[in-house]
């Protein structure tokens, strides 16, 4: 049984440099495994999904980017505020994107204007499109997608991005935008949604994760799991790790061992290798500390290994399999 059975919207976010897009893509693949249909979305106009899946830049169109193990599909959509607004006008006001009102809105630069002067409104459009994909139904009443994964803006902006009612509330107290933002907010706050945080076992990303969970909780947004990315296994045996960190690694034994293996072991070489072991041990200790700090959040937590080379499609499948094994999907 996966850890998030009722969740249909997975929001993935993390500090810059934590590779949240990679994690979002791996999660989408994991969720699609075994014949599911999943939509992976991005909202920052940087075409991160296309780069990961080795595909040309995504148009504003839901397009299949990958097949999951066991026969599921991952579709992807790069949401653009202007297109989302035209969609919205079409859906709620029956304005054709090519009709005069929509064209004149575009010609006047109204969309630029609306999305520039009031970022909260832009976010309503972006999250509104995501919500639309979550609640969309097929003709037979079944959900169009089994799950939607959103590669969200970085942790620092996440609450502002998702807490649209609050952002819009100051601008529009009544009216259609207010209604729309309330509807989107209802889905975001519901048990259908989980906001996952991606982190590294480094001080700053761990701290931002702790702060992120607190901020999301305060905004009544449902916190999901914590995904620790790029985890490296300790390479020294535990006892040696402790010794190395305390600066009392047995260099005599190390020199003997190197000679045993048929290597020259001059003093400078032994010292330099000892230094590398010390730095490794320090890093492992800091990572352990980060892990302990994250454990205090008491959220489901998943670890993904550091892939030696830049993540390619094969690597994404490996990460997806790992998330499944750990029960995230």
């Amino acid at each position: 049984m996966a850890d998030f059975p009722g969740v249909r919207l997975h929001v993935v976010n993390g500090k810059g440099g934590t590779a949240k897009t990679t994690v979002a893509a791996a999660l989408a693949l994991a969720l699609a495994s075994g014949g599911k249909r999943v939509l992976l979305t991005e909202v920052e106009g940087r075409q991160g999904i296309a780069q990961l899946f080795d595909s040309p830049p995504l148009p504003y169109e839901e397009r299949k980017v990958a097949v999951a193990p066991g026969g599921g599909d991952v579709h992807a959509l790069a949401i653009d505020p202007e297109q989302a607004l035209l969609d919205y006008l079409h859906l709620f006001y029956k304005l054709s994107p090519n009709g005069i009102p929509a064209r004149s809105l575009r010609r006047m630069g109204a969309i630029d204007f609306a999305t520039t002067v009031a970022p909260g409104m832009r976010d309503v459009l972006l999250t509104g499109k995501v919500k639309e994909a979550v609640v969309r139904r097929n003709k037979d009443g079944s959900p169009a997608y089994d799950a939607v994964v959103l590669d969200a803006p970085p942790t620092g902006r996440i609450v502002r991005f998702l807490n649209i009612s609050h952002e819009v509330g100051g601008l529009a107290k009544v009216g259609p935008i207010k209604t729309q933002s309330d509807n989107v907010m209802a889905v975001l706050r519901s048990p259908q949604t989980a906001v996952h945080l991606v982190t590294l076992l480094e001080e700053m990303p761990v701290q931002e994760t702790i702060d992120g969970v607190a901020d999301l909780t305060a905004a009544q947004l449902p916190v999901g799991g914590v995904v620790v990315n790029a985890v490296r296994e300790p390479l020294l045996p535990p006892a040696d790790l402790v010794a190395a960190e305390q600066g009392r690694l047995d260099t005599t034994a190390l020199a003997t061992g190197l000679k045993e293996a048929g290597l020259d072991a001059p003093e400078p070489l032994v010292q330099a290798l000892g230094q590398e072991a010390l730095e490794h041990a320090q890093r492992v200790a800091l990572e352990e500390h980060g892990r302990d700090t994250l454990a205090r959040l008491e959220r489901p937590s998943y670890e993904l290994p550091l892939l030696p080379d830049a993540v390619d499609l094969g690597g994404l499948y490996r990460l997806a399999a790992s998330l499944r094994e750990q029960g995230m999907a």
Binding site: K15, G16, G17, T18, E44, L89, Y93, I100, P101, S104, L105, R107, M108, A110, D112, F113, T116, V117, A118, P119, G120, M121, P154, R160, G170, L171, A172, V174, G175, P176, I177, K178, E202, E203, M204, P205, Q207, L235, L236, P237, D250, A253, L254, G257, L258, E260, A261, G262, L263, L269, A272, L273, G274, Q275, E276, A277, E279, H280, Q282, L286
Partner: protein, 378 residues
Amino acid sequence: MKHLDIDATLDSARILVCCGSGGVGKTTTAAALALRAAERGRRTVVLTIDPARRLAQSMGLSELDNTPLRVVGVDDSQGGSLDAMMLDMKRTFDEIVLTHAEPSKAQAILANPFYQALSSSFAGTQEYMAMEKLGQLQASGDYDLVVVDTPPTRSALDFLDAPQRLTTFLDGRMIRLLLAPAKAGGKAYLKVVSAGFNVFTGVLTKIIGAGVLQDVSQFVAALETMFGGFRERAQATYDLLKAPGTAFVVVAAPERDALREAAYFVERLAAERMPLAGLVVNRVHRSAVTSLTPETSLAAAQSLEQSGGSPLAAAVLRLHADRVQLAGREQRLEQRFVSAHPDVPVVEVAALPGDVHDLAGLRAVGADLAGGSQALSA
């Protein structure tokens, strides 16, 4: 590869802008550069956007504050000093409004809900305000060098475009349209737009509601009085960035995405004729043991494991192989950047096990910045 001589830049520049994508150690680099410049005798101020809490504390910053504070513990024997401040975006914006608008209009602007949204979260406000503050600090005459850390915007465009974008926005057709009804003078203009405009306001009212539209119109009308001031300042800032004495330092980590972003930045700066000092590659792994290749290490480790020899030596050899391989991958990525941008000077900073959160740590990073890069160029 050309070597970036950081000290030469620190001794001659009047403005130093650190830019790069998020998570590459940009704030730490900016702080380390500023500290080094101060200890080399320059009166320096560092403007940071969103430092990690402990780094901020190490510089004596506890909250957003638009006034630079003296950093305690800096070696002033060369006659330099270090001040630091964290940008308060909204307050900087408010100050501009108060400076440029008539008092009665200023209050109307500050109270308008659209102004409040714009000043606290407009994508670009942070960048624009950072540039604005930079201009103020430079003009104060209190400093020889202003070091500025830019917001971690994913897109380099955001940062360079900020002044231009705000101007374009204020000059925009939409704004002119919203003001049009109030301007009886432009009859011919009105005639052309009115058909489209009526449809347009009709749609807009329907979508966002009449109250919101009225707020927008009021906001725009109030802002209009200060358009001239805004444009002038945006242009002045842009010119300042291009002026002699300004240097950009692009910061990256030896990873594919960060270097791709750095390449984009470098190209963009060149296109805008902005003066680039060079690239700082942070968090580089190196190994002092060059005689022992990963292949030899792994083979030796394997033979030890098979023969039941020293587990410690085997583990240390594996660890060494891992480190050299990582260093090799990083060098290949960096080399790719260098091949595409052979004229950009580069300096490397070694990866540290933990984060920097005191002056001693910043000093060590500064020393590495000034002396680094030998490993790769040698």
